[in-house]
């Protein structure tokens, strides 16, 4: 092997008049290995008479993927039957990748099942091979494995259940699987994915394998899992490993009582079902320690929990119930306490809810039979949306029909766990779902949320959820009077968001009165308490005139104290004149003499705040008269 451990060598084994090791027949014909001794060593391993891994059995029409380990070294082979250069059938073309086990693991081997680097036909094969970069190969394999793993989820659960239970009956054993009918099991590689995902390294032995062999292995030096292309025929060699027909459960391990066998059979079903619907859930069931014997496998099956206090087959029971199996023996398999039920729900992967949604919706047999479970499901889904962790698709919510009460309960829970500060995000997530009847109840939940955040949320929701937006604004206007700090924060938001004119307009489409009324309330609660002097009113008017909508002017006129209203109306009148091509009437600036200047903080909070100035550059000279600015804007408009 190459001295660099990060390199994987290649060997092509086929029939030749003269192989690279000086033989005639099947042997290495092309390789990246330059050392003859090393090459001969691999030839001895791969063409050993007890298990000639590189040989292709007659009658096998599909390529086989083989994974073998030799101490710290491993080989991945793809072999197929070809016609040799002399035209003789049943010859071998095997392409082997050899390298350290640390690089060539079973997952990498499976991930290479569709690798485009495999040699295809002898005649068209390469005449030169280079060593492969192990990192690049691993990347390729990783992608290939993910694809294979995804296809494995569609395997027949019955087949996998029998296979898992059979393997569990002798976790350290070797198995030869043969198909029930004609032809090899096409998805043998996918089945192996399932085995690797499920058992990992728990058995303490490498998962060596071959996906397609003509003959039942009869050697100690054989892969652990061998898939045969057909039922084994007569042989005078004593087979090694258990001979098992695919899809049938075979007890291959140490003697066990019926209860133990039942446990493994049921656990096999649980594993297969769980494997089908969730890789994440499989991780929860994987053994924590070694499982090398029948006894240890039974112990694993008995003690495996989906979550603390939750049986391993929790997800499957929910599915079974949802599919109408509501008989007591199925229901008994549910956790007995609400706490455990909730823990089980909490542990379910997101994709599970997709499968459960249409089975547990309102009115289904399952929901009618076990309303507590249906409610727990609804609560869990609501929580996931509220918390933003592992949320299923929105369609799931609609199918499950999560009631508004569940949403409110979970929002409340979220507020109590994370405080009101983050609630806006949670509400935003929930609001995006468009749950009917939900917005009406939000007021209670949002009572403790800062008013300025409610304004932000209202602004953001106005386009899609105007009703919720109205609710939020009402929560703010209902807090009259606002604490001074909160009021200032709200003023800042109003200024940054142009008095929420756009949002309110969306909340009251074609309803200028409603629009004006909401703006009036907002101004009354947020702005008016800060109008200590007429000069502040000038600034406010200037800002309002910039925005220049009738409902806003109308709202302001209604919101200010009677002493200021006349001035507002006069300015509004001039705006109207101007908009109709008339010159504005002269309006005397507000005499500032006998009024104290506003406190510095108040000054900063009015439209000259940095943000406001930035978004509205015309306010750079706050002391400029209203009329000067109006005239300038008129000139600007004409020049445009």
């Amino acid at each position: 092997m190459n001295q660099d451990l990060q390199v994987v060598d290649q060997i092509i084994i086929s029939w030749s008049e003269r192989t690279l090791t000086e033989g005639r027949g099947v042997g290495p014909t092309v390789s990246s290995i330059r050392s003859k001794e090393e090459l001969a060593g691999w030839e001895r391993r791969l063409l050993a008479t007890d298990w000639a891994a590189a040989e292709v059995g007659s009658g096998v029409s599909r390529p086989a993927l083989v994974y073998l380990q030799f101490g710290e070294e491993a080989a991945v082979l793809r072999k197929k039957a070809v016609t040799d250069p002399r035209g003789r059938p049943g010859s071998t073309l095997a392409h082997a990748l050899v390298g350290p086990v640390s690089v060539l693991g079973a997952r990498v081997a499976l991930g290479l099942h569709d690798w485009n680097g495999w040699a295809e036909e002898d005649g068209d094969g390469p005449d030169k091979l280079d060593a492969l970069d192990s990192r690049e190969l691993s990347r390729t394999a990783s992608h290939g494995y993910a694809t294979l793993d995804a296809s494995a989820r569609n395997l027949d659960p019955g087949l996998l259940a029998a296979l898992f239970a059979t393997l569990l009956s002798d976790p350290g054993g070797r198995f030869s699987f043969y198909p029930a009918g004609e032809g090899a099991l096409d998805p043998a590689a996918a089945v192996l994915c399932g085995v690797l995902d499920m058992f990992g390294d728990a058995t303490g032995q490498a998962w060596t394998f071959s996906t397609c062999e003509a003959d039942e292995p009869a050697a100690a030096n054989r892969p652990r899992l061998v898939f045969l292309s057909q039922a084994p025929g007569f042989s005078t060699r004593v087979p090694t490993g258990h001979r098992v027909r695919l899809g049938e459960l075979a007890w291959c391990g140490q003697p066990a009582d019926d209860a133990g066998k039942d446990v493994l059979r049921e656990f096999g079903e649980t594993l297969a079902e769980t494997f089908a619907w969730s890789p994440e859930a499989i991780g929860r069931l994987r053994p924590r320690g070694r499982v090398t014997s029948t006894r240890e496998a039974i112990a694993w099956a008995r003690n495996a929990e989906f979550a603390p206090g939750v049986p391993a087959d929790f997800g499957n029971v929910l599915l079974a119930l949802g599919r109408g199996r509501i008989e007591p023996e199925v229901q008994r398999r549910l956790p007995s306490t609400p706490g455990a039920l909730a823990a089980g729900m909490n542990a379910l992967p997101a994709e599970t809810f997709t499968r459960l949604a249409h089975l547990w919706g309102p009115g289904t047999a399952a929901a009618t039979s076990r309303p507590d479970v249906a409610e727990a499901l609804g609560r869990q889904v609501a929580w996931r949306f509220v918390s933003g962790a592992g949320a299923p698709a929105a369609a799931v919510v609609r199918s499950l029909g999560v009631p508004a009460s569940a949403w409110l309960e979970q929002l409340e829970r979220y507020r109590s766990e994370y405080g009101p500060a983050d609630l806006a995000d949670a509400v935003r997530r929930v609001a995006a779902l468009g749950v009917p009847e939900l917005d009406a109840e939000l007021g209670q939940i949002l009572a403790g949320m800062p008013a300025d955040e409610l304004l932000v949320l209202a602004d953001e929701c106005a386009a899609d959820l105007p009703e919720l937006s109205v609710r939020l604004l009402r929560v703010v206007t209902g807090r009259d009077p606002l604490p001074e700090g909160e009021r200032r924060a709200c003023r800042s938001q109003l200024d940054q968001r142009a008095f929420l004119v756009r949002a309110v307009e969306r909340c009251y489409p074609n309803d200028p009165r409603g629009e004006s009324e909401m703006l009036r309330r907002l101004l009354s609660v947020i702005v008016v308490p800060g109008l200590h002097e007429p000069r502040n009113l000038d600034r406010l008017l200037a800002r309002v005139c910039d925005i220049r909508t009738a409902p806003l002017l109308h709202a302001l006129a209604g919101a200010v104290p009677p002493g200021m209203r006349e001035r507002v109306l006069l300015v509004a009148g001039n705006v109207w004149f101007q908009d109709n091509g008339l010159l504005p009437l002269d309006v005397a600036p507000t005499p500032p003499a006998d009024v104290k200047p506003p406190p510095p903080a108040e000054q900063a909070a009015v439209p000259v705040a940095p943000d406001a100035a930035q978004s509205h550059p015309r306010h750079e000279a706050p002391r400029e008269s209203l009329w000067t600015r109006l005239l300038r804007s008129l000139r600007l408009r004409r020049s445009l």
Binding site: W15, E17, G23, R24, G25, V26, G27, L47, A48, T49, D50, A52, E55, V56, G57, S58, A81, T83, D84, R86, G87, R88, P89, G90, S91, T92, D215, A218, A219, A220, A231, P232, G233, F234, S235, T236, R237, V238, P239, T240, R243
Partner: protein, 380 residues
């Protein structure tokens, strides 16, 4: 205690104590327990279809009849390089061997030693080759196991023999390691298969085809591409056998050998040493009186063509005969031998010669047309 040497791994078995198994309907081995009060006829039938288990080299099953103490055991090994033509020759040979009526001329009665072993071989090799004229798949490298086995009775002499055949991949025979060729230690009769394509100048190109013979003939190298180096598997097997029999220093190896120049249909025509045998009558292959003559011709033919390295078996084995034969009589096209020219010829004679050298056949009375004899060196 009856000790039997396992022909696969050379382990000495206490035959009566070796576990018995039967093959069920699904061909899965199942331990056989003989009821103590069973009728003798039933026990004989059960045992006759059962197997003894040898634990050597991973374990293998031997037909229960293999241990028949009244029969002499003859184990025949097919020797030759990969693609030399061993498998086709053996399939044709056994196809002829099973034609009991012909062999009755030699006072031989032949029956399968084990029906399952024989059935498997017939299904995998004999029928595809002889009946369907298919080119057989290459023999794979694998642990050696019995290819086929027969119970042969010489009715005239009242003697019985178990004749067991081993046909393993040429690659395997070429490996120097004893571990992979342990079965050779049990072999006491050899058939060496000479691939004429490997001998320079022996093979003719099809007339006017512009294509060399090797291109259309399974297992033959291109005409003119052969060499003089011989067949390494011959050397290896002879060496291993000498070691196994502790005859490394002996002048001769005490095992009879039939050396067969196979694919004789491909040989360049016109050589008188060859022509006589290619034109011989069809039933001449049962006439053992001509074996000595044929052996001489083949020896001369090979020697004069520079193939003396292929004559090693004839020089090393104390008894040997040499033959021309062709398993198919023609070359395959698209993996099938053409029906019009498919004609295995002279395939049984090397086996009969070997059996004569082993004393199974009395060669002095084995001529098809009357008494004949050849000097095998075996006192009969």
């Amino acid at each position: 205690m009856v000790m039997i040497e396992c022909p696969v791994c050379l382990r000495n078995l206490d035959w009566e104590q070796a576990p018995l198994v039967t093959m069920g309907e699904d061909l899965a081995p199942t331990p056989l327990v003989l009821p103590p009060d069973e009728a003798p006829a039933a026990t004989r039938m059960r045992l006759g279809t059962a197997y003894r288990t040898c634990p050597g080299r991973g374990g293998h099953y031997l037909p229960a009849d293999y241990g028949d103490m009244k029969a002499e055991r003859i184990t025949v090994g097919m020797i030759g390089n990969s693609a030399a033509g061993k498998s086709h020759l053996l399939a044709a040979m056994i196809g002829q061997f099973m034609r009991g009526i012909r062999l009755r001329q030699l006072d031989l009665q032949v029956s399968p030693l084990d029906l399952l072993i024989h059935k498997r071989y017939v299904q995998e090799a004999v029928t595809p080759f002889l009946d369907q004229r298919k080119e057989l798949d290459r023999t794979r490298v694998a642990a050696a196991e019995i290819t086929d086995a027969f119970l042969v009775a010489n009715l005239a002499a009242g003697k019985r023999y178990t004749v067991t055949f081993f046909d393993v991949a040429g690659e395997q025979l070429g490996r120097a390691g004893a571990e992979e060729n342990l079965f050779l230690g049990a072999v006491n009769a050899l058939i060496f298969v000479v691939d004429p394509g490997a001998v320079r100048g022996l093979v003719r190109a099809p007339a006017g085809s512009g294509v060399n013979a090797g291109a259309v003939n399974a297992g033959a190298v291109d005409a003119g591409e052969g060499g003089t180096a011989g067949d390494y598997t011959f050397d290896n097997v002879l060496k291993l056998l000498r070691l196994a029999r502790d005859e490394a220093a002996a002048e001769f190896l005490g095992v009879p050998a039939a050396v067969v120049v196979t694919k004789a249909d491909l040989l360049r025509r016109g050589d008188l040493l060859l022509e006589r045998w290619l034109r011989a009558e069809a039933d001449e292959d049962l006439d053992l009186s001509t074996v000595e003559e044929e052996s001489g011709d083949v020896f001369t033919y090979l020697y004069t063509h520079g193939a003396d390295r292929w004559l090693e078996p004839a020089q090393q084995c104390i008894w040997s005969t040499l033959h021309f034969a062709s398993a198919a009589g023609t070359s395959p096209r698209d993996k099938v031998f053409p029906e019009e020219s498919f004609r295995p010829f002279r395939v049984i004679k090397p086996l009969l010669s070997l059996l004569a050298m082993k004393g199974v056949i009395d060669s002095r009375n084995a001529a098809a047309g009357g008494p004949g004899q050849f000097d095998t060196g075996v006192p009969v």
